[in-house]
Symmetry: C2
Subunit: 224 residues, 2 copies
Amino acid sequence: MTKDPDARTPEPGGPGLRSDAQRNRERVVEAARDVFAEQGLDASTNEIARRAGVGVATLFRRFPTRDDLIAAAFADKMHAYSVAIDEALADPDPWSAFCGYIQRVCQMQADDRGFADVLTMTFPTAKAFEEERNRSADKLTELLDRAKAVGRLRQDFAHQDVPLILMANAGVVTATRDAAPDAWRRLVGYLIQSFAAETARPIPDPPTPRQMYRALMRLSRKTS
Amino acid sequence: MTKDPDARTPEPGGPGLRSDAQRNRERVVEAARDVFAEQGLDASTNEIARRAGVGVATLFRRFPTRDDLIAAAFADKMHAYSVAIDEALADPDPWSAFCGYIQRVCQMQADDRGFADVLTMTFPTAKAFEEERNRSADKLTELLDRAKAVGRLRQDFAHQDVPLILMANAGVVTATRDAAPDAWRRLVGYLIQSFAAETARPIPDPPTPRQMYRALMRLSRKTS
DNA sequence: CCCGAAGTGGAGCAGGTATTCCAAATGGGT
DNA sequence: ACCCATTTGGAATACCTGCTCCACTTCGGG
């Protein structure tokens, strides 16, 4: 009687949830983090529920769509992702800031198979991330501008090149994770060198921002 | 292509097959080529049979394992792949030969989703390809040596870097195929520039040949 | 033209997903 | 201690796969 039928709070940890329910929710999120990290975003729902020690119904009640679960599982990694660029902006040397940022983000991909997917297939998943992404985008532009201003980053480096790097890196880490876990460092080493202004030579145009946006949106729906 | 009774392929098309059976076999191979190109190596068997207009039993009778089908479907693209390096070796300028080869192979990945998989996940599939690969490996070494000898290719470029490039490129093409089909050219542009001797700066060591071999063998068995 | 061997297609099976439903268990306010 | 709304686990459903089996069809040599 005292309960309000529509007192649903959309996303936070657990507002009106019973204490045990809230605990179970957290267990699901933790299991999802683990499983996604190991197996990528297309890991089986059953596996996550099993690993969390709850029934599948519990998982679905708390996270009706897969995107809800992904958003919850990667919320803090997305935060770390945007913190990374803040830290980069704090570096007095814009070039080392840029290089450090690229390496950091690629490292995050190497560490977490699911997160590599989130960063490349990306937004399909969550509006929750969209805001964070937009903030990051502005900061990224700032970072690139600084590195160009000091003459270290080539002028024709486009911000679309960053997701391009992430996609390339994702290709390497998914292929080499088991057999050669550090192979991606070599790729990134090559790439960063090619971003240096002093050695820049003409290369094909980058994809347009709009193309890149659409590429990132891809695959929310499977092959069809 | 080019139906030639004794062109190559030891015992492929059909030795003692009835004429209709042989025709069906060819239809399956063609359907497999199309479907693999569109959907990648993990396309559904049923889909291929349906597209070929035959029953699934026919497909399985002719190609008991998936690898058999893959080998048949990509035989001529593998041949083209090894021809590409011959053509590169025919180029009098070792550096443009090298650059052209990389671009050519990456182009092939961009054109065929399944072939991109074959080149990166690779051999899981076929001993048939192994011989072709070994021949190619020797020729590749020759190509790299020449380019290094004329001082255009950096000395620390390792032959393992080639599959590394293919993996990176595969990451980009799978992500951007629909929205930005030429994005991979930009990546390859960056990479090739970083392979030039004159601008070379130290980068992390490449994976060992053995690591790379194991990486290529990966995923013959799923996640387990 | 005929008939056995070769070839065929689709139903069927085992095993995998995502998602829904509901009888039973549980928390926590009283 | 009680009671009922909330929460739960697992069975049930509805698809997908890969792969096999077998009654029927077709080829092609005589």
